[in-house]
Subunit: 456 residues, 2 copies
Amino acid sequence: MDIEAIMGEVLRRIKPTEEERAFINGLMRELEDLVRETSEDLGLDVRPYFVGSLAKDTYLAGDHDVDLFLAFPLRTPLKKLREKGLELGRAIAEELDSYEIAYAEHPYVRASYKGVKVDLVPCYDVKDWRDVRTAVDRSILHTEWVLENLKGRNDEVRLLKRFLKGIGAYGSEIYVRGFSGYLAEILVIKYGSFLEVLRNADFMLRQKIIDPGNWLKHEYETAMKTIKREAEEDRPLVVIDPVDPRRNVAANLSWEKYGRFYFKAQEFLQNPSAGFFFPTEFIGGDYLAELRRKGTHLVTLLFAVPEMVDDLLFPQLERSAKGFEKALAREGFAVLGWNIGRCKSGKAFIMLEVDRIERPMVRIHPGPEFFTNRGWDFYQKNERVWLVGKRLYAEKAVKESITDVILELLEKNQVAMGKNLRKPIKGTDVLVDYVPRDLETEAYLFLSRKKEGLKN
Amino acid sequence: MDIEAIMGEVLRRIKPTEEERAFINGLMRELEDLVRETSEDLGLDVRPYFVGSLAKDTYLAGDHDVDLFLAFPLRTPLKKLREKGLELGRAIAEELDSYEIAYAEHPYVRASYKGVKVDLVPCYDVKDWRDVRTAVDRSILHTEWVLENLKGRNDEVRLLKRFLKGIGAYGSEIYVRGFSGYLAEILVIKYGSFLEVLRNADFMLRQKIIDPGNWLKHEYETAMKTIKREAEEDRPLVVIDPVDPRRNVAANLSWEKYGRFYFKAQEFLQNPSAGFFFPTEFIGGDYLAELRRKGTHLVTLLFAVPEMVDDLLFPQLERSAKGFEKALAREGFAVLGWNIGRCKSGKAFIMLEVDRIERPMVRIHPGPEFFTNRGWDFYQKNERVWLVGKRLYAEKAVKESITDVILELLEKNQVAMGKNLRKPIKGTDVLVDYVPRDLETEAYLFLSRKKEGLKN
């Protein structure tokens, strides 16, 4: 099948139908009216804005969460915006099916209506980047900019988003660090089409700077400051936000996710298939066979964690996994890879693939130079002691199983960890070459490198 | 027993008896006459000099090899000295019991007479360091200097030499790198007695420079050049040769051997015993039990070597052992220690104590940055490939047993080795956790660290 036919087939699956579109538009009109009425009732001067992929008509079929922003005048004090924003959100949500309060920089209302998730988010009614006061205020400007510039290429965005999802590079959450929807939109606007974005995967990396808002012309100093800062952080791309020259739209994009895009783009262009957009779900795989094949071992730490959202938990699990990698390396165990996540039980896990689970009972312990006070101490303290050049060495008895070593490291606080995990991890189970049933597939995907691997 | 009593007891064992002394003196007179007669017969203008510990009367009981130097006039051309020196040596040796030709810088005659080894070494009859032309010429000057300066402290030298032997720090051979007899004599002359030398073990290391010939006064520039050169080489001591300001008498003394002396001197002074001079010979020990206790493994390379003296072979074995240490570390095997030597069969061996003898069948192989030509190659060549930051990684299948790894390293010439050993080691046997019977004690001494250890 040629590339155009494939894209046609994919589009048929991801483009919302007229029915879905009509349903969504009806819903949006209904919600908009509800906001106007409710703010009037409460005597609030609030304008409703739809933002996100729904407002921009770049959403994928079936993926139609509503982001409804409640914009207060700029003169509103922040405290009042938080109070009244939440009050208004609640009042609106009372008219919907159900709701809860969620927390980001400010509290907001997460409601459900006719099976659709509706976020009611208070913000300032900004017209310009200089007005931006809270993290969400820019969304209105983003929506406006995309609507103005997209010029009918909405389906190209849909293809790119689905492609990025398919290859596992979509989402700007801190534990994903992939492409955001807004970044996908900017790239389509910049390069003209889905295929052109793919064709430019190498070029844009080399060019490094994308400036669709022409800030380098109009706000040279601010834009240069952004470029310098982001270049120092060694980001793969610096995409100066067309609505705010202080911001890199791709600030959260990791090299790993860009690399995925880079290889998959080339492969798709050379050998196109719908599989890039809709990878076949993986079924089964024997992690124990994988361990035997590789000759490595799997150590799994399994522990209860306090209630935390993934945005908070996952970075801390990552930090802890890296902490174990370092600490175990110092102890003579090489960590070939690690993997983190949550079990269905709610417990968190850290998996470590290690080269061995036992080590010699003695270790060479380097000491000081011999002709020092510490040298004399070292000589007297150690039984088996010798010289290499002017340095003393001794044999030291050490724990031998990796489980013992891990427990001792934890006891002595010698592992760098996420701050909320220090205590939970102290009570961890340590499983060697064995995982509970609900982690078997996870263990297989990890050990076989199917999880982080570029080829599946 | 107090320290004086101990030294008295030791002296009784190491001081030559009047009988031995009379026998040796008779032998020397006899040999001297023989040199004179033989050179006259051959029409050579040669003077006999006795050098070494016999000439200086600092030899230990039973340890009375004769060093007889045949000194030619300075005007003799080098070529003639070599020819005539060997001719004269042979002619003298014909009158003795047996002899062979040995090779150092020049060939010389190694004879045997009345059960005593007699070296007949041609040299120049130098009166001053500026005349020195061959490596052995200085010996005559050394003997003269010691005879002039020792002033009856011969037994103090005997004690020091026996002490150094007892603690394993005596001998300036390249594969020993300990104290030479001449250095022991200088130290006694400098500090006055055996005990004073021991008491100054720390001080002389800190003072660093010993200049018994007062060269810093009379030959400042030459002496400073020596000091600078030797300081750059980071020698433990710089003892400017009292007969030649260009030379550090302690140039071959290693930090390891000085360290041995350093600790043992302190221990002897604190807790004297005759055991320092005459350590009890080690009997037996189970190297397999030692391996079990330590949880480590012993890999022994055993191979035939071309005919080489130890002076040549041992440094090359050392170099090769270090080469294996490095190459195996790159391959994921930690070498905790190595040991080299000759078997009774004449074969050479390299023993390596390693932390394990198997490793995982896969290894993490770091690749290039992904956005390069090499990155694209790496991506295509490897099946299991992923990114960490911008760098590609892949899993690589590797050999798993240390024997396979060693044989592959040898085949690919990836081990740094002594130049004459490259070929012999290619045909090596690789023994894992097993040694032939005649190496069992050697293996035990090595693994238990009794060989290089400071405490036995």
